[in-house]
Structures are given as C-alpha cells and as structure tokens.
Symmetry: C2
Subunit: 480 residues, 2 copies
C-alpha cells in the first residue's frame, strides 16, 4: 500500500486539532492567506510551488513534537521555515498543502559557554544577531558562517551553508554545528552529540541533518562552535583576466599569510559598482580581488599586506590598495556587500536570478570563461562575484521579463552541467531548483542511498516532501 497524504477534509481537521493544541497562544497558528503565500514562495527564486495550508509558530521542542504528531495523524506534509533566504525553493509549499513550521519565535540564545568557545541556541536565531550579541557582551568570539545576513541557524544547518569566510573556516559541513536536537518524523526527540569539540562516537548523525533541508527531521536546538574574533585588514587589487587572479590567489594561499576571505568581482561587477556610485572612488573595470586578512595585531596585518602585494604584482595585479585604517577597510568591504544591489541597478526594474557553482580551484578560470561566453551570446546581463579561494562563484542573471526568465533558466542549467563536467557542483543546496541535477552529479547509486535514508527515516514522506531527492514511489496521489 502506498503511503499518501490526507484529503483537504483531513487537513481541515488537522488545523482544528492544531488550534486546540495551541489554545491560549494566539500567535501560534495562522491561516492568513498573505502569511500562507509569503511562507510558501520566495522573491529570491523562480521555482514552482504552492502555498502552505497553515503556519505554526512553535516556541519549544515540545511544540514541534505536537505538530509532528498531528501531521502524522492526518498525513499532512510539514515544512520548516527558517530565515527564508534560501534560493532553491527549500521552503516552498507542497502541492497538496501542508503545515509550515515558522521557527521565528524560537530565536533565543540559550547558553553562551565563553570558556569553551561554543553557544547553544534555537534554530530561529540569526547568525548576525548572535555575532552582535557576542560583541555587545564583549565576548571576543564569533560564528564564522556568513550567508545572507538574515539567515538563521536552523536553515544554515539544514542547507550546509557557507559564505565569504569559508576559505578560512570551511562550510557548515565542517564542525561548526557541534550537535543538534532534532524532532524525527517518528516524533522522537534526539540530541545527536555532546558538546565536546571532537567526537568519534559512532555514525555522524549530526551530519545526517546538515544539508537535509528538513527532509529527515526538524532541528529545534543547536550547539554552535565559535572562533576568536581577530583583527582584520582589507586590500583590493585588479587583474587583466580571471586566470591571473586565480593563480595569484593560489600563491597567496601557499604563502602562509592568513586570509579570512578572498572575493572575486568580475569586470562587469566593477562597472556596476562604479555606476552605483556608493564607493568613494572609481575602480578600474577589471576582474578584481578583495582580500580580508587576519592577524594578531596591526603590524602583522601590514606585513601580510606586503607579502600579498608582492605576490599579486608577480601575477600582473595592479592598483593594489591596502586599507589604511578600519574605516577604509569597512568601506572597501562594503564594495563587496554592494555588489548585488549595484548589479541590479544596471537594469532598472530588473530582478536577479542568483546562481552559484563550485569546481576544483584550477578549473575556475575555464568555468568563468565559458560562462561569460555563454552570457555574452545570450544577451543577458549578469555580473559575477565569487569565493575564488574555494573555486566557487555566483552570477546574478538580471531579468526583466518572461522571455529573459526562460533564457536565464537555460543559462543556469548550462552552468550547472558545465560545473559538473569539471568535477564540480552547485551551491545553495538542492531544494526544488537543483534536484534534477542530483543523479548527474552524484550518480544513481548515491542518490538511491539518499532515497533509502529518506524512506527509512520518514516512511510517510511527510517531512518537506519533494525536496532534495525525489522519492517517486512515495509521491502522493493528488488530493481530491
């Protein structure tokens, strides 16, 4: 017998039961249509989907367990909503409707263990708020994963996120999430690991939920590892082409100078920034690297700057500028932060399809070159920026109409195929947007293993169905 989802009548009963379960908490349940829509769609992507049927705002693990039990009873999909910044339709509503669990009321920092450099928080806590809180308390630590500023810990864990600091600190798949409390589809609550920095105690169940996008469990509490907040400095340098920039980055990496970030902004991106006019000066409209150095004091940062200046000069870098003070460093770094908005401003009224691919570092120039050629012949405008130290870049494809949307869809598809052909991958998770590429990238055996895990842990296919790996034999009949 195939498992399948409840009918709309079942869902109506489920909602009644949810309202009873949360009686007295007037902010816990919403069926407001704007709410349903905004939680199920995203202005950040172009993937298909549907509205949710009901939104629940839990305040505790116990609340989540209650909701999971009702979802199971009525065979109603359950989809976690964290910061809402994901780009591949991760929190999209399911076709037959479902329960959206908005974690925004579970946004507390529970315990800060300064001496252990870790912190326990709820999944709705935003990484930038956590870092602000640490700064306010004068605790010289921070959490280094830095995706979109409003991303929250639950979603960051569930997508295995990264950010500009990944070249120094790695991604969410490294050891930044020390443990997670997870409500499983069975309703059971587990804590995956203890708080020590290392663990070799059996299968790595924490990692099972990293990148699972809420398909295997709902994360309700997380211990994150923190790292010392160190003095930084910023420098900018320009290159005649991306290959030389990549070679320079490689030599810088080998030099032993500590680099916290190294970001590539392409010629079009620099043009966009000049047009945007938020920088104090006009930049050469060339492929550009922005470095963020890390050191124990100003002297060591300046010394790192000198080492890097020599290296980039050897690779044809020009216009090297090392920010003379913190204000100038902040201004320079702001250039990177403005890149998306500057890009959007190139075509007034446009929207951006942000897409992201990652290849072994040596393949990056080829990937960028081929992608630029493809973009040029498509007629679309698409500034590119990237975490070049990891072989990773994204393009913001500017779109003003349906025709351009279709062109963009094709370009994205070709970018992904190209990256896979270069032994690479995409970024931003799978969601709906990338699931068709999963077999091409990983092979059917690995995807079958994922499906086996999914079927085993969530036999009713209620947790974020249709995301990550398609489980065909668990796909439901359309509701009546």
């Amino acid at each position: 017998m195939k498992p399948r989802y409840g009918s709309q009548e079942d869902y109506a009963q489920a909602i009644n039961e949810l309202k009873k379960a949360f009686a007295g908490d007037e902010d816990a349940v919403s069926t407001n249509s704007d709410d349903l829509y905004s939680h199920g769609f995203s202005v950040n992507d172009y993937h298909p989907g549907a509205s949710h049927t009901v939104i629940i705002y839990p305040t505790s693990t116990e609340d989540v367990v209650k909701v999971v039990k009702i979802s199971t009873k009525y065979r109603m999909p359950i989809i976690a909503y964290s910061g809402g910044t994901s780009l591949e339709g991760q929190f999209r509503g399911y076709q037959s409707g479902g329960i959206c669990l908005d974690m925004s009321r579970m946004n507390n920092i529970i315990e800060i263990h300064e001496a252990d450099s870790d912190l326990v928080c709820q999944p709705g806590a935003c990484w930038s708020d956590i870092n602000d809180a640490l700064r306010e308390k004068k605790i010289p630590l921070f959490f280094p994963l830095d995706p979109a500023p409003t991303a929250t810990i639950g979603g960051m864990l569930s997508t295995g996120c990264s950010g500009t600091n990944a070249v120094r600190y790695g991604t969410g798949k490294a050891e930044w999430f020390l443990n997670a409390t997870v409500v499983l589809p069975s309703g059971e609550v587990i804590k995956t690991r203890r708080r020590a920095r290392k663990s070799s105690a059996g299968f790595d169940t924490t990692k099972l939920f990293i990148g699972a996008e809420g398909t295997l469990g709902i994360v309700t509490e997380v211990t994150i590892r923190l790292t010392p907040l160190l003095p930084t400095a910023v420098a900018i340098v320009h290159f005649s082409d991306v290959r030389k920039a990549t070679e320079a980055v490689r030599e810088v990496t080998l030099s032993g100078v500590t680099i916290q970030c190294v970001e590539l902004l392409d010629d079009l991106c620099m043009h966009a920034l000049n047009q945007y006019g938020q920088s104090a000066e006009k930049w050469p409209e060339k492929d550009t690297l922005l470095f963020k150095f890390q050191g124990h004091n100003k002297a060591s940062l300046a010394e790192s700057g000198r080492v890097v200046e020599k290296i980039v000069a050897r690779h044809g870098g020009f216009g090297f500028k090392f920010a003379k003070d913190d204000q100038e460093a902040e201004d320079l770094w702001e250039t990177r932060k403005n890149a998306l908005y500057a890009g959007l401003a190139l075509i007034s009224g446009s929207r951006a399809w942000s897409t992201d691919v990652c290849v072994p570092v040596s393949k990056l120039p080829e990937l960028v070159y081929e992608t630029k050629k493809d973009l040029a012949s498509s007629g679309l405008v698409a500034p590119m920026a990237g975490h070049v130290g990891d072989g990773n870049f994204h393009a913001a494809l500017l779109i003003s109409n349906e025709k351009e949307l279709e062109i963009a869809r094709d370009i994205v598809s070709r970018m992904v195929h190209r990256a896979i052909a270069l032994d690479g991958t995409w970024e931003h998770g799978v969601g709906i947007g990338k699931k068709d590429y999963l077999v091409e990238e990983l092979g059917s055996g690995t995807v079958e293993l994922m499906k086996l895990l999914k079927r085993t842990i969530d036999p009713l296919n209620l947790f974020n169905p249709g995301k990550v790996c398609i489980v065909l034999d668990l796909e439901p009949r359309r509701p009546r």
Copy 2:
C-alpha cells in the same frame, strides 16, 4: 525470519569460491593461522574477539565487490583491515568467523591535483607516506590528520580520526575527506561526492561513512584535501598545575597567533621523559605545554613566540623556551613523540592501555584532576598527554599483570563516565571497547537512529558486525 550467518561448512565453500575468484593472484587469499590471528587481534588493546577465517588482499574496487558478493552468498561477515592501529577492537574477528579484507595492496596515490590542493588515493595509503611523497615531489602541501604514523586513509576515514594538528585543522569529521568510493553491502559501488571543495548537494553521504568503522560500507578510494605546508616553530613551557596551563592555552587561542598544535604533557610524563634520557636536557617535572606555531616566515614565527611567552608568563608559566632553529624544534617535538615510549619505560616489561577522553575545554582541568586522584588511589602508573586546545587528553595506563589489567579496565570505565558527565566523550572510535557507553553518551534515540541506519544499509549485518552499535535483533545464532 532472523538473518543469520552461515555455518562453518558454508564458510569452507565461501573460501573455495574466493580462491577461485582470485585464481592466478597468489597473494590474494590467506588462511595462514598466524595471519588470521594477527589480523583479528591487536597488541594495542584488551578487548575480546576471535580470529578471522580468511584474509583477502584486494587490489581494486572490483575485487572488493567480488568479495562482498561471496560474503553475501554465504552469510559470512566481512571486516576491513586498514593500518591496524585502532585501539578499540575495530578490526577484531567476529565470533563465528569471517572474511578480513586487508587493504594493504590498495595503497597507491592515484592522482595528485597540486593546483586544487587535493589528492586521490586508495584506502591502504598511509598518511605519513603520502606526506613523504609530496615532500619528495617538492609539492608544498600536506595532509594534516596525524594519528599513529602507520595509520592508513581507509581507517582514518572510517574512525573519523584526529591527531595533534586538530587544534588548527579539525578532525576527520571536518572536510578533509572530500569524497569516497564505497562498496555497499548490496555490492553496489557509489562515489559520495565530486572533487570541489564545497558541496551542498543533498544529504552528506560522505560523512555517513566517517566514523562508521566499516559497518556501512568498504571504502576503496578517497579524495583527500591537502593544505599548504608552512614554516613552523616549537616552544616549551612549564606550569605548576594544569588549570593554569589550560587558561594560558585559551588566551593564546584568543590572541590570533596561529597555533598548529598545543600538547599537554603531565608531570609524570615529564618525569618519564627525564628517566628515558632521550632529550638533550632534563625538564622540570611539571605539567608542560609544547606549542607548534605556524607562520609565513621566521620573523612572524619569532613574533608569535614573543606573544605567547608574555601570555604564558601571565598564567605562571616558567622555563619558556623557543627553539632557536629547526634542529632544536625537531628535538623538542621529539619529546612529544617519545612520551608513550618513555612512559612504558617507567615500568620495565609493562604494556600500556591507552585511553582517551574529550570534554568542553573548560572542563579539562576538572577531568584531569579527578582522573589523577583516581589513578593515585588505584596504585597504577599512568602518564598523561593530551591535545589540550581541544579539551582532549589520553592516559597510558601501565599494566604488568592480570590484576592491574582489571584495575585499568575499571579506571577507563570511570574516566569515560566522568567525561560524559562533563558533557564530553571518548576518542578512538567505538569498536568493541566503547560500544557499551554509546547510549549513555548519546541517548537511546540517537543510538536507535544509528541502528536503523545500520539495519537499512546492511540488513544482513555482514559488515563488521558487533562493532559501533549493537544490533541485537540482528545478532546471529552461534554457528554449529
């Protein structure tokens, strides 16, 4: 119907079939009794076990698939043997016998991607050989996980190993193993991921096999990530007690000085080293820290030394000595490497039970203090050393007779319970030696999830049965 293992007659047929399958390769199959014994037991631990029935030395993934199919046909357990350095009985023979897969002939480096800082190798390749090969080829990269010198990549992945460099580079559970080719119990071969440094493509199936100790699949090829080989320097400093040493390490970590290793050797360990007489000088017999610094040149290393010297002085450190050249640095570091042998030499003819626990850093002094008290009242001699930057230390309990072995067993048990009570864990994996502690540490829900994964991926319980998590309903009847 319960799955169960084959009879001894079945196993005899399996061996015949294995011999046929490897006909012409005279080194592929061994039933030599010394060989069977040495692959099933270990001089490094005291756990129960049995000899294997047959040893296979595969040379390819295809060989492993052949063996897995025969193991399935005859319901014969299959246990991978890598460097043989694990301490918890990970490669112990199963009670009813089984096939041991010795990966020593699969020890090749297949491809070095210098520009991408990665390398593809077989599971029998030894990490120290890999680093030697890179040095010989003048490639300025290395693989930073450094457990026992003869440990090999397959076992290092399968136990989620770490080592002295973990404070700078993290453990095997971070992103050092980029992908793995794995033969599943079904006989299917999967490759878990591509070669790019980052991946957010679905569940992290690579991590599923890290720490699984061969219970979920046999690893036959691995892409490991390399990191720049940088200039280092070494310093030593002594403290009146371990709490002050821990506080100093914390402040050093926060200072921004790049530390590759920081090792604690306790007073007894220093006494043992003095007795051992391999050092150029006599050390104060006090709790001691050994630092390995990392920097881009000698000047920056010296500057790091000065920063650390000031910090340790503030915490009561004395006798700070910064190695004046590479030779002195090597000699100092040799002190750390000699610690185990020096410890053993304290009691002539003794053996060591090495055990290892890890707690949040702030709890380390308490753990060390309580353990020392326990050791003192037991009468056992046990020098301690540890990776103090990660809250991790091990004790070498010296044993000369059966009575002391039983005392040691109890002490180890108390150490583990103590670490768990401090929100910590043990190290060196689970194997046989630590599986009884798994529920206490992780809770029954998490262990049940592990068992569920094991049952799903290996429904016949043929892959290293009885290790990591006990699957009671899959335990076999004793063979006839």
